[in-house]
């Protein structure tokens, strides 16, 4: 069974805050849910399915539906890190296509910046991951685990720091128009390569921002969508795949997008030339570069050339990406960037992105998330969206 045309994104909301002092985590989730439902023209009583991931407090879905007073018949708390929310769109579309629900609400919220300021203790989870004993003694960080991917990609394909820098440059060109973006200053390739090295070969400007806030999405059945006033954004196709270290047969030069991408394109029945806009998870510049190759926008190893010279900048480049400024400049709420990838793709298909970055006639867009660590284990999810005629 295909999900093509069986579900629509009816509502979205991105929290305007980037520092959530004085707000609790469940409160942020509820504020986001309210915002997305208002955008859709629906109420919480219309919601019959709720989706959340590891950022939600307590038991996740169960605790959050209680807090929000939702009366749902389905919850899904699939956790793949920052990509979870792209995957939730896919799962919601599948559930709607199968007739299990009609209005699915997805929320993400986080307050890492406020937690740090308020010195909130780390909240320990359940059993540690099986690899922990073989990794934690070596002081892996999020940055150095992505940096090793960049180092290997440079070695195998001759990718340069300047090429990676173009990804941040493009994001900054978009962020200048976003009043909510944490960093709105336009930067140059020189600015990026002259910023301090955090973990070689990645510089400070190769890394995304840390912000609070979050986002929410409402996915609905066609019969619900036809009674709503907002522009219809149809789910055309989806794919997902975890990728890991394969028992020691390690290859850091590609991501799970190698598998999630082709599946999404096949289900959507579209080609790369049809994609007018792409939201691509940008935890780091290297994440974008490997993903663009893996999704098939260029050959493996050609990503460096592809992203150079402004090719990702809306209005000048062939593949406008992350027109909200992305995680690199705008927002990476709760250290999970998949949600904001869906939100900007929806804005583009609705024609509601900032006029300076709106892609003309954006009938088909792609959103991709990479959760976990590109340098170890990750969950990848791709979603292709289109307007009513797509």
């Amino acid at each position: 069974m295909s999900i093509r045309g069986k579900a629509y994104i009816a509502g979205i909301y991105e929290h305007p805050t980037r520092l959530a002092l004085g707000k609790t985590l469940p409160q942020l989730h509820a504020e986001l849910a309210k915002g997305a439902l208002e955008d859709a023209g629906l109420t919480k009583d219309d919601v019959d399915a709720y989706y959340c991931a590891g950022d939600a407090p307590g038991m996740g879905g169960v605790d959050m539906v209680e807090y929000m007073g939702l009366n749902v018949r389905q919850i899904d708390s699939t956790e793949t890190g920052g990509s979870s929310y792209v995957l939730h769109v896919n799962h919601a579309a599948q559930a709607i296509a199968a007739g299990h629900c009609k209005v699915a609400l997805i929320t993400l919220a986080g307050r890492p910046a406020a937690d740090a300021k308020e010195k909130v203790a780390f909240r320990p989870g359940g059993d540690p991951p099986p690899a922990i004993g073989f990794e934690s003694p070596y002081r892996p960080t999020i940055v150095n685990m992505y940096a090793m991917c960049a180092q290997r990609h440079m070695y195998e394909y001759g990718t340069t720091s300047e090429q990676l820098a173009w990804i941040k440059v493009a994001a900054s060109h978009h962020a200048q128009h976003n009043e909510h973006a944490l960093r709105r200053e336009v930067v140059t390739v020189e600015d990026v390569v002259n910023s301090p090295i955090i973990a070689s070969p990645l510089h400070r400007y190769d890394c995304c921002v840390i912000t609070d806030g979050g986002g929410a999405v409402v996915v609905v059945a066609p019969e619900i969508m036809k009674n709503l006033k907002r522009p219809a954004v149809k789910v055309l196709g989806a794919g997902e795949a975890p990728k890991h270290l394969m028992g020691g047969k390690v290859d850091l030069t590609y991501s799970g997008a190698r598998w999630s991408g082709p599946k999404a394109f096949e289900e959507a029945g579209v080609s790369h030339a049809d994609i007018k806009y792409a939201s691509i998870y940008d935890s780091f510049t290297i994440t974008v570069l490997e993903t663009i190759e893996d999704l098939g926008f260029c050959e493996k190893g050609e990503g460096g050339k592809f992203v150079s010279d402004g090719n990702l900048i809306s209005g000048t480049g062939k593949l406008p990406f992350n027109t909200d400024g992305g995680g690199l400049c705008n927002n990476h709420p709760g250290n999970r960037g998949g949600m904001t990838k869906v939100l900007e793709a929806v804005r583009q298909v609705r024609g509601e992105a900032h006029p300076k970055v709106q892609v003309p006639n954006c009938d088909i867009a792609l959103a991709h998330g990479t959760g976990g660590l590109l340098g170890a284990r990750m969950g990848s999810a791709t979603c292709i969206l289109g307007n009513e005629d797509a």
């Binding site: 004993g133 073989f134 003694p137 070596y138 960080t141 090793m148 990645l202 028992g247």
Partner: protein
């Protein structure tokens, strides 16, 4: 730039990994080996990640390999290097590079294991360039 005194952090040990960490106290770097399909794997597991056989055991490596990739994490006083090392036996494993000039590291360089005592009855295997 190099790290003279690596920070040694004791591993979390469980029933499945106890034998691996006991071997480190004797200066042995082990990997998982499957007696069904013959493949080496890492990290070592009770069930082979390639064929799902439970006929796995620990096999001692020669402790030699090549740098698959690395990253030097900046720190004003104590920068350190995380790396993936491809062992001569095949598996690529996460580790640190120590006792080496960080400015001269390169992918493909030969390295050998060196053990750092945790003070808790085991030692963390790291690598130095040769």
């Amino acid at each position: 730039m190099s790290e003279t005194k690596p920070k040694v952090k004791a591993p979390k040990v469980n029933h499945e990994t106890k034998a691996f960490w006991e071997a480190t106290a004797e200066g042995k770097l082990m990997v998982g080996k499957c007696n069904e399909c013959g493949e080496y794997h890492y990290y070592p597991r009770s069930l082979c990640p390639f064929c799902f056989s439970d006929k796995t055991e620990l096999a001692q490596t020669a402790g030699k390999g090549k740098i698959y990739s690395f990253s030097v994490t900046s720190h004003p006083k104590s920068p350190y290097t995380i790396a993936y090392i491809t062992l001569a036996e095949g598996p690529t494993i996460l580790s640190n590079i120590v006792e080496s000039d960080f400015d001269k590291l390169a992918i493909g360089q030969d390295v050998e294991v060196v053990f750092y005592d945790t003070g808790e009855g085991n030692a963390v295997p790291m690598f130095k360039t040769v």
